[in-house]
Amino acid sequence: MDLAAVIVVETVYAVASLILISAGLAIVFGMMKVINLAHGEFMMMGGYATITAVNLGINIYIAMLVIAPIVVGLIGLLVERLVIRHLYGRLVDTMLATWGLSLFFVGIVTMIFGNTTTGISTPIPGISIGDYQINGYNFFIVIISILLVLLIYFVLKGTRLGLIARGTMQRSDMAAALGYSPDRIYMATFFVGSALSGLAGAVLAPLVGLVPSSGGAYIAKAFITVISGGPSVIAGLISSGGFFGVVNQFFTFAISPVVGEVALLVSAVILLRLLPQGVTGRFLKGKL
């Protein structure tokens, strides 16, 4: 019974963390059709921003939820202005350029912080269920993920800003004709996407030992989740995040964590073979 509870909690956590990791990339890819391969490095920089802020004596929650997104968002803004905006509509070129950026950021962070592992301790103590101990921080991540998905949904669906953004993504020429500058809106969207990446990296920072190259661990998972999700931002995120999270945890508990990881990757290959347009390319079409 206790074990069942632990498995449920761990599975929910796995799904939530996948969604958290992928949210920033999903916004940028779903809305702008730009694949940001520097996404993992944005997360890594979010983590470093948090750690630096905490070491300077700032409250950890402020550091994670406010400072890191703003810092990474601003970096994203700079990247968009300097590189990405020249490459809109050239999918493969953006992938390559952002891959270059990811290498660049890894190098820069290595030069500043050194190639050593840094970390902060989790601010929430563990919780015991029967004989088992669960990291209490996992619940925090689950809550953050749920809030994040609700927030994205509300902003896109309920606000005028979201309406303008969605309109621009569908028909930028129409939006321009109605007096909204697509250039500005792309810029703002990329800022939001980067900020979300920073937030994700910051929230996950206490759980992992952070090294300059830790972005690589995230990018593949985020990339797979977003692409398998397909064109809809939120429906795709939830469906593929849910699927991969469950597959991963099932094999992790049944066999071993490594097999869990491999099972996730293999299931992604099979899923894409069966649904080449992603989950929401076939099901839940037209949903947000």
Partner: protein
Amino acid sequence: MREITLQRFAIALVIAGIVMTLLPLMVGTYTLTLLLVYGMLAMSLGLIWGFGGILCFGQAAFFGLGAYAYAIAAINFGESTVPMIIAVLVPAAFAAVLGGMMFYGRLGDVYLGVITLVVTLIFFKFMNSTAGPEYVIGTARLGGFNGIPGYQTLNVPGLPEQYIYGDSLYYVTFIALFVVYWLVNWVLQSPFGRVAVAIRENEQRASLMGYDIRARKTVLFAVGGAIAGLAGAFYANWAEIVTPGLFSLGQSAEIIIWCIVGGLGTRLGPILGAAGLAYLKFKLGQQMLIDNAVITGIILVLFVLFLPKGLVPAIEKIWRLSVGRKRGRRPARSRRGRAASHG
């Protein structure tokens, strides 16, 4: 595509011979061998990406597979001739299966990229976790994170005691690269290669003309895998150890960067890009001021933004604009004359 003539082949042979003897005077053969291996690896991606339009984010998978296949076979057989063949066949077969799965599923560009990337990651994760004694193929232990050391390196066929190493490994690798380069040339100017380029240019039109795109792409992908596997086998001989790092994302990224910088859609470009950038990296590794990744990253971004076609086409263009202009008219006229005589 210019035709392969005996004359052009002879000229290339002479140039290659001169380059082969002159290079060791400037750079040590130990470093040179690695540069050649990387050149061969880049050529494999240059073939399938530059001429087939297949962007593979996981060319490192075939490279690593070739190296591992060689190491495992060499331990089991105790000599190197059969392992070399196995190291080409295994990645080729794997590429054919993987390619068949992807192309018969009619996957788009991005999805192709994701799947190849994921496959590379699977290898990386799996090989890293094979430290236990239960992971054995024949008498070879896979060794997990530490990789496989201590296998038989390249020897003269039939004579397991006659090792080929050091300077002679460099010459053998150079000759192998030259042979593969001309095989690629031959493939590209054969009907198969021409149809591959047609598919790259317009897939729908080629398929409407009756060519089986899926089969052709699969075969091309397998050829690319075979070349990458051969490069992997030479790498295994050079390094004398194979580790899961061969399957890393960084390795895949580098191959793509070489191709972009050297010039896509050219045959020499990827080789030169690989050798040049690998040498640059080697030189940069000796200084502590700037991290290597920063420079690699900046190079990739700048090339995508300002020189997306790569160095070789750019140099060709400059050459044609400056030096070639004076002689430019004569070839044009002779070409017209030939066309007229055909007509």
